[in-house]
Every structure is written in structure tokens, then in C-alpha cells.
């Protein structure tokens, strides 16, 4: 009797698993969100978006749906846990297949009753501290210009670059503002390309951050380095200097010598004024230089 029961139980379990396999394998594709739904989602995002917010979209959204987001700066990449803990994040998600990694949303805004699209707003956890601003994540807020000589702006890097980021009209194609993933000190690192130019200054301008935080001052950590490859293939290559300036004053200088490694300095900045990272080198040959910077409200 009990043996029969065991067999029946085994049969039942296997049948359930078989049905689960069958259902997941054979269910049809769902229809794509309509342009109106995506447009409505975009309106909600724009209405709820504050300076410094990060917008993420579900990796399940098709380019046929994403086209209706226009120029909205959004990606399907899951922000790092530090960023998730410290920044407000707006996620364009699917109600029935939610994107992993964000916890519980503060607000869930439905597009309409029939739509699978939802907009979720995640607030940072007050118990955690993290960057208010990150050069890589917030590249859209950063302005780049080229001065030649120092003080004379010869190009504002606002032209759309075909392979991404922004290029600097009238300047060589290797001067541009874009995110890169480069091997520095033996590891792949996400950073901002900051190739110096002979007899000139590359200026990266971080806007005032007062709208993104209630703090009046923040600590800005600046890390720089040359790619391992550039150092190995350029014996005698020149050093690259990154000067941090605010209100016309030099706060610190980070020097990346022609030696494998990451070089960093942390300075206190105020949130009411912009900050400039001014990059120079006596000789720009193969100076594949990259910058990372983040501002957060912690003690020096």
C-alpha cells in the first residue's frame, strides 16, 4: 500500500516537472509593447526623474520597443551594488518578469491595466553610503572640451561619435569622451577615456551636484592610470597629470607615471560649483589614459 503511494507520489512529482518543462518550452512569444505604451512609460519616467537618477530598462525589451524611448539615457546594465545603494534608480520593467537585483521598489507606476510595462522607482537605502556622482555612470552629465593652449577652448566635445560617446570637432579622432573598459594594473576597469594632447589641456567638467544631494561638501576620489599595454609598448613614455580644480583653485594633482598601476587622490569639493579635471602631458604618444572619479559623502 505504502509502496504504491510512493510510486504514485513519484509519478505525480515527475508529471508536474514534465508539465513545467513543457509549458516553459512551448509557450508562445508575448506581443511587444505598443508605441503608445512605451511613450506613456517614457512620460512617467520623465515626470519622475530627478537630477542624478539612473534609468535602467529590462533586458527583455526589444529594440522595436526601445526605439520609442527616443534619446532617453537608459541601459539594461545592472548598476553595481554601491550605485544601487546610493542612487535613486528608475527601472522600466515588465510586470510579470521583473528584473533581478533591485529589491523592493518605493513606487510602482503602471502604464495601463492591460500593459505588462511598469515603471519602478527605487530609493537608496539610507543605511548605506555610496557615490552621489560617478564619472562612468553619469557620463551624460560630464562636459569635455579641449584647450590649446591652456585657457583657450578650441573644441567643445559635443559631436555625436559614430561608435559611441562624443567627439571633439576639429581635433584628432582619438580625443573623445566615452566610457571604456580597459586593462589597467592587470584588471579590466570601467573608466572614462582621457587621452592627453600635446600643448593642450583636456578638460572634463563635472556639474554642480547640489541637486543630487543635500550635502554641501563631498569627497571626490579621482583615480587615473595608463593601460598596461600602452606602458609595455612605450618605454620612456611621458607621465599624464590630472589636475582637480574648483572655483579656479587647484585642489590636487594626480600623476600617472609610465608605470603599471592606478594612482589616486581624494579631495573635498563643494556641491555648489562645477569641478574640472584638467588632463595634460608633455608628450601625448600612446598615452592611453583613463580616469575614474566618484563623489560621496564620507569622511576623508
Amino acid at each position: 500500500m505504502s509502496k504504491n503511494l510512493g510510486i504514485k507520489a513519484a509519478l505525480a512529482i515527475m508529471s508536474i516537472l514534465w508539465l513545467m518543462d513543457g509549458y516553459v518550452a512551448l509557450r508562445p512569444n508575448t506581443s511587444l509593447a505598443t508605441p503608445e505604451e512605451v511613450q506613456a512609460a517614457l512620460n512617467i519616467i520623465e515626470k519622475n526623474k530627478k537630477p542624478g537618477d539612473i534609468v535602467v530598462h529590462s533586458p527583455l525589451l526589444s529594440p522595436s520597443e526601445l526605439v520609442h524611448l527616443g534619446d532617453l539615457d537608459a541601459s539594461s546594465a545592472l548598476p553595481s551594488s554601491r550605485v544601487r545603494n546610493s542612487r535613486r534608480i528608475i527601472v522600466l520593467d515588465q510586470a510579470h518578469t521583473k528584473m533581478y537585483g533591485f529589491g523592493s521598489p518605493k513606487k510602482t507606476l503602471r502604464i495601463s491595466d492591460g500593459s505588462d510595462l511598469v515603471v519602478k522607482v527605487y530609493e537608496p537605502d539610507a543605511a548605506h553610503s555610496g557615490p552621489v556622482f560617478d564619472l562612468y555612470t553619469d557620463i551624460k552629465q560630464v562636459q569635455m572640451s579641449v584647450e590649446k593652449p591652456a585657457g583657450k577652448v578650441v573644441s567643445k566635445c559635443i559631436a555625436k561619435r559614430p561608435s559611441g560617446g562624443r567627439s571633439c570637432p576639429g581635433q584628432p579622432e582619438w580625443l573623445y569622451l566615452d566610457r571604456r573598459k580597459l586593462v589597467i594594473n592587470g584588471q579590466s576597469r570601467e573608466c572614462i577615456w582621457a587621452h592627453p594632447t600635446n600643448n593642450g589641456v583636456i578638460v572634463l567638467t563635472i556639474p554642480p551636484l547640489q541637486n543630487q544631494t543635500q550635502h554641501k561638501t563631498l569627497n571626490l576620489k579621482v583615480q587615473t592610470g595608463l593601460t598596461d599595454d600602452a606602458i609595455r609598448t612605450t618605454p620612456g613614455g611621458a607621465e599624464v597629470q590630472t589636475e582637480v580644480q574648483q572655483k579656479g583653485q587647484v585642489l590636487t594633482k594626480v600623476i600617472a607615471p609610465n608605470r603599471i598601476g592606478i594612482y589616486e587622490k581624494t579631495v573635498r569639493i563643494t556641491t555648489d560649483k562645477e569641478v574640472q579635471l584638467r588632463i595634460t602631458s608633455p608628450k601625448d604618444g600612446r598615452r592611453h589614459h583613463c580616469v575614474m572619479a566618484s563623489a560621496e559623502a564620507t569622511k576623508l
Binding site: 509502496k3 504504491n4 510512493g6 510510486i7 504514485k8 513519484a10 509519478l11 512529482i13 515527475m14 516537472l17 514534465w18 513545467m20 518543462d21 513543457g22 509549458y23 516553459v24 518550452a25 512551448l26 509557450r27 512569444n29 508575448t30 529590462s58 533586458p59 527583455l60 525589451l61 526589444s62 529594440p63 522595436s64 526601445l66 526605439v67 524611448l69 527616443g70 539615457d73 537608459a74 541601459s75 539594461s76 546594465a77 545592472l78 553595481s80 515588465q94 518578469t97 521583473k98 528584473m99 533581478y100 537585483g101 559614430p162 561608435s163 559611441g164 560617446g165 566615452d178 566610457r179 571604456r180 573598459k181 592587470g186 584588471q187 579590466s188 570601467e190
Partner: protein, 555 residues
């Protein structure tokens, strides 16, 4: 049905099924490494066996074997031989890839042998059939069974060596042959020597139990219990002596500068470069690599649930038998001992093949690719589990045809996935994570290996304008390599080229792969471009074809 005829029928069905689907399997980014290497090695072999004097000169050997010298040659010989034998019929790449079908079919032959040897003919054949069907129905294993890479070959040779050492428990001839087979396995890929991680504990567990339980000769009883030695298995001796001899004998690259080249070989794998791997939304490239549980999670989320459930069922059912074998060895008959040895060995190998990837400290990437030797053991256990259920069903179901139909349904659940993910096998995930849709939302990668999908090749050939230039994002250079094989094999129209320069491309194909840092940016850049075609599986975009610029000369 005789064991031989039954086994041949099972092997034939498996082999024919793989042959039928061979032309649908996408090229991977590794094919372009191993196919040319196989061609080069076999060309040298041709010179060597015809005793051309220059063949044995260091310069000639080095020139032939320098290609892909970081991996041993055995599987590549098979690729090369099948390329030269079948290229007229299958084209340059599919002919070489046919060699992997042979390796995969070898696994099924070994499953039949082991099942029939350890169970009686009828049960053995049933187990072999169930296991083979479940192996055939594993979408990911199925794809790997078609590609000219070393993963299924090493799974086959590992399983072959495991079969020999297990058979060696009851055959002296097998003990001697275990060494050469182990040598061939080691000459296939670096995973093979790790068979010892399962074999040595197996030897210790079974021998210690026999020492404890056997009636000792009067002389042996004079030796204190604590210092009695475990009898050294002959198979292990053969593996330690003949194994390395075979390994070096078939790899001419190692014939000169041996110490330096062995060091180089080991160093390459010990310090393997990082490969991006997306796991729960985080990209792991460099140390620290993906966490240890990643291979277990990948196995749990990609093997059809029914298959894993039967394997677990078999382990649970086997445990009391294994315990008796290890604690009361003298009280059980040979039939039971034989079966429990098999079950213990299958469990140990299932554990070690996957744990090796989890705990070795080397990069974890590519989903299930790195632990391919795990699957034959797991499917064998699943086949045993299913057969257990079949035999137990006697109590509740008398009709044999009905019973067979029921278990047939159970072992076929993987075919649902095969049907849905046909040509896209590496995108398959099971119901545990909600298919590829759930897995993608969870932060797993929806594809890897830069698969050059056949239906895309067909679509481009059919719909592409004359002299079409295409570019792939985010990883174009891999497709430059694979598409040249399609062109050579006339699968792709000869005027279609994959260009290195994105700006020169008429059409751009984005493969949706979040592990690449540039993917999001590429997706944003093309957001406003016209979409010509898109492949979605389970409501999940796999690739999208964009019009990069207007073409003036439509076909």
C-alpha cells in the same frame, strides 16, 4: 533482443539524429581554431606515415603543430580526418565538426556497455535507451555534439577512461587498456586527468571496505589493521605509466623542448585569461571570478527538470545499496557489488566533474561548456532512476506498452526545449528560472560562444542586397572568422562579407549580450535605426538586424 543488437540500435538512433540536425548547428568562435589545427595536424600525419624524411624534422613538426598548441591534439586529429574524408559531402567546416558527432556517439556506446554489463540485458538496454534519449534531448549538450571544439570530445574520452577503470575492477585486460585510453583522454583536453579525483576516492572507499570486511589469510592477519595497505589497482598503474607515454607519443609538439613546452601548456591553463561571464546581473571577468556556485546553478537551470529529478531519484535509491557495499562488503553478492560500484562511481564523477570548475580557482565562464564531462554521468543516473520507476510501475500498471509510453514521455521532456530552441541551443534555460525569458531578467546571459546562427546566414543570403556588407556588435571580429567558413562552404552567398569597419557596413546585427561593456551603448546608438529583422525566443530578443545605411542597389 541481444545486448549487442540492442546497443547497436540505440547508438544508431542517436547517431542518425545527430546527423540529421548537423547542418543546423551554429558555428562557434572556437571552430575556427580547432578546424585549421586539425587540418594542419592531419596533413603532417599524412607526411609522417608516408615516411617523408622532412616530416620528422623539428621545423616541420613545429610548423604543423604551432597552430592551437595550447591544447593537445587527439580530438583535432579526428576533426582533420573527418574534414578530409567528408569535405566533398558536407563542406569544409561541417565535415570537420562531424568528428564531434563520433565522439558523442561513443558516449552512447559506452553507456550501453556499462548499463548492460552492470544490469542484466533487458534492464541494461532500457537504462541505456533512457539515458541516451535524455542525453540527446539536452539542448546544450546537443549543440556541443556538433561543434569542432574539445568539450564533447573530452566528455567522451573522459567517460571512456572512466568506463575502462570501472571495468578494470573485473577485467585484467581492461586494467591494462585503462592506461592508453586515459592517455588519449589526457591528449584531448586538460579536464581528463581529473578523472583521478573520482577514481582515487572510489578505490579507497571500496578497498577499505573490502579490507575491513574480507576474511583475511592467516599471513595477512599478522599485519596490524592500521598498517594494512590498500591493494594498488592495476588500472592506476597503467594510467600512471602507459597514460603519459600515449599522451606524449601522439603529440609531436612535445617531442622537443619537452620541459619548457609542458610548463607552457600547464601555465596557459593555470593562468587562463578572463572571459566575461554574466551571473545574476554582474559581469565577472577577472579574479575574483564568478562564485563557486555558478556551475551548479548553470546545471540546475539548464538541464530539463525531469532529467535532473530522475538523476536525484537514482542517487536516493542507490544510497542504501552503496552503504551496504561500503560497510558490509562480504555480505553482498557480486551482482549487487557490481551495481553499487557503478552507482558510487557515477555519483563521484558527477560531483567531481562539476566541482572541478567550481573550486579550481580558474575562470568560470561559458555556462555549461566547462563541465561537459558531467552530462554523461548525470544522464546515466537519470536513466537508472527512470528505469527504477519503470520497474516499480509494475505494481500499479500492468500494460507494458503504457508503461513504456509513460516513461518515454518523461525522458523526452528535453525535446520540448530542443524544438523551441532549435539552432539556438545555448539560449535554453529550464522551468526553474522560467526559460530564457526568466533567466535573462534574472541576469543570466541569453547566449554565448558568438554563435553564427544558421537561420541568420540563410536570411542574409536570401534577403541581402548584392555585395552586402554586415557588421556584428558587440563582438564583430569573431564573426569575421566564422562567416568565412560559411562562405567557403557555400552556406552564405559569396558576395556577402562581414566587414571590420562598422562605418562601412550596410547592415548591423546586434547580438544581445549584456556581458560586453559596450552592449548598452551599441543598443542606444542603434535605437533609432530601422529594424529589418529580429529573432526573439520565449519573448526574449536574441539578435536584431538594423539597417545602418540606405542601400542604393537592392537585389
Amino acid at each position: 533482443m541481444s545486448a549487442l543488437r540492442g546497443s547497436l540500435a540505440i547508438i544508431a538512433v542517436y547517431f542518425v539524429c545527430l546527423c540529421f540536425t548537423h547542418k543546423n548547428a551554429a558555428l562557434t568562435d572556437d571552430d575556427d581554431y580547432y578546424i585549421p589545427a586539425g587540418i594542419s595536424y592531419v596533413a603532417w600525419l599524412g607526411k609522417a606515415i608516408s615516411f617523408q624524411p622532412e616530416a620528422y624534422k623539428k621545423k616541420t613538426i613545429d610548423a604543423a603543430y604551432k597552430i592551437n598548441k595550447e591544447h593537445p591534439p587527439f580530438a583535432k586529429y579526428v576533426f582533420g580526418l573527418s574534414h578530409f574524408s567528408l569535405r566533398g559531402l558536407l563542406g569544409p567546416s561541417d565535415s570537420a565538426r562531424f568528428g564531434t558527432i563520433l565522439f558523442s556517439s561513443l558516449i552512447v556506446g559506452l553507456l550501453c556497455f556499462l548499463a548492460v554489463f552492470h544490469f542484466e540485458t533487458n534492464s541494461g538496454l532500457r537504462i541505456a535507451a533512457f539515458s541516451s534519449i535524455m542525453l540527446l534531448a539536452l539542448p546544450r549538450f546537443n549543440l556541443h555534439s556538433h561543434v569542432a571544439t574539445l568539450d564533447v570530445p573530452v566528455a567522451a574520452m573522459y567517460f571512456f577512461a572512466a568506463t575502462m577503470v570501472l571495468y578494470a575492477e573485473r577485467s585484467k585486460k581492461a586494467a591494462i587498456w585503462a592506461g592508453p585510453v586515459f592517455g588519449l583522454a589526457t591528449a584531448t583536453k586538460l579536464n581528463a586527468p581529473f578523472l583521478l579525483l573520482a577514481y582515487i576516492p572510489f578505490v579507497i572507499l571500496t578497498r577499505v571496505s573490502e579490507l575491513k570486511n574480507s576474511t583475511l589469510s592467516p599471513r595477512a592477519t599478522t599485519i596490524p589493521r592500521g598498517v594494512r595497505l590498500i591493494p594498488f589497482p592495476a588500472a592506476l598503474l597503467s594510467m600512471a605509466t602507459l597514460g603519459p607515454l600515449v599522451f606524449f607519443a601522439i603529440w609531436p609538439w612535445m617531442w622537443t623542448d619537452t620541459v619548457a613546452r609542458v610548463k607552457e601548456y600547464i601555465a596557459f591553463h593555470a593562468n587562463h585569461y578572463g572571459i566575461h561571464f554574466l551571473y545574476f546581473g554582474q559581469v565577472h571577468t577577472d579574479a575574483p571570478y564568478a562564485p563557486w556556485h555558478a556551475p551548479f546553478v548553470m546545471a540546475a537551470t539548464t538541464i530539463p527538470l525531469v532529467t535532473s529529478a530522475f538523476a536525484i531519484f537514482a542517487v536516493i535509491r542507490a544510497w542504501p545499496m552503496i552503504q551496504s557495499r561500503l560497510t558490509k562488503s562480504s555480505q553482498i553478492d557480486d551482482k549487487q557489488r557490481r551495481r553499487s560500484d557503478l552507482l558510487l562511481f557515477l555519483i563521484l564523477n558527477s560531483l567531481t566533474t562539476i566541482s572541478l570548475v567550481a573550486f579550481a580557482g580558474t575562470p568560470i565562464y561559458g555556462g555549461e561548456k566547462l563541465f561537459m564531462p558531467f552530462f554523461p554521468f548525470w544522464c546515466f543516473l537519470a536513466g537508472i532512476g527512470l528505469n527504477n520507476l519503470y520497474e516499480e510501475l509494475q505494481a500499479v500498471m500492468r500494460n507494458k506498452a503504457l508503461k513504456l509510453a509513460l516513461v518515454g514521455l518523461f525522458c523526452s521532456s528535453g525535446f520540448f526545449y530542443q524544438w523551441r530552441y532549435f539552432g539556438y541551443e545555448l539560449s535554453q534555460y529550464n522551468a526553474l528560472v522560467g526559460g530564457v525569458k526568466g533567466a535573462t531578467a534574472l541576469g543570466f546571459e541569453r547566449q554565448y560562444y558568438d554563435l553564427a546562427y544558421r537561420d541568420l546566414v540563410e536570411w542574409l543570403s536570401k534577403n541581402g542586397p548584392k555585395n552586402l556588407k554586415v557588421h556584428f556588435l558587440p563582438n564583430n571580429w569573431e564573426y569575421v572568422r566564422t562567416y568565412k567558413w560559411y562562405r567557403r562552404g557555400e552556406d552564405l552567398r559569396s558576395d556577402i562579407v562581414v566587414v571590420n569597419n562598422e562605418r562601412a557596413a550596410d547592415w548591423v546585427i546586434i547580438t544581445h549580450e549584456r556581458r560586453f561593456a559596450r552592449y548598452s551603448k551599441d543598443l542606444s546608438r542603434y535605437r533609432q535605426k530601422r529594424i529589418l529583422f529580429e529573432k526573439r525566443i520565449d519573448s526574449t530578443p536574441i539578435w536584431t538586424l538594423f539597417e545602418a545605411k540606405t542601400i542604393d542597389n537592392p537585389r
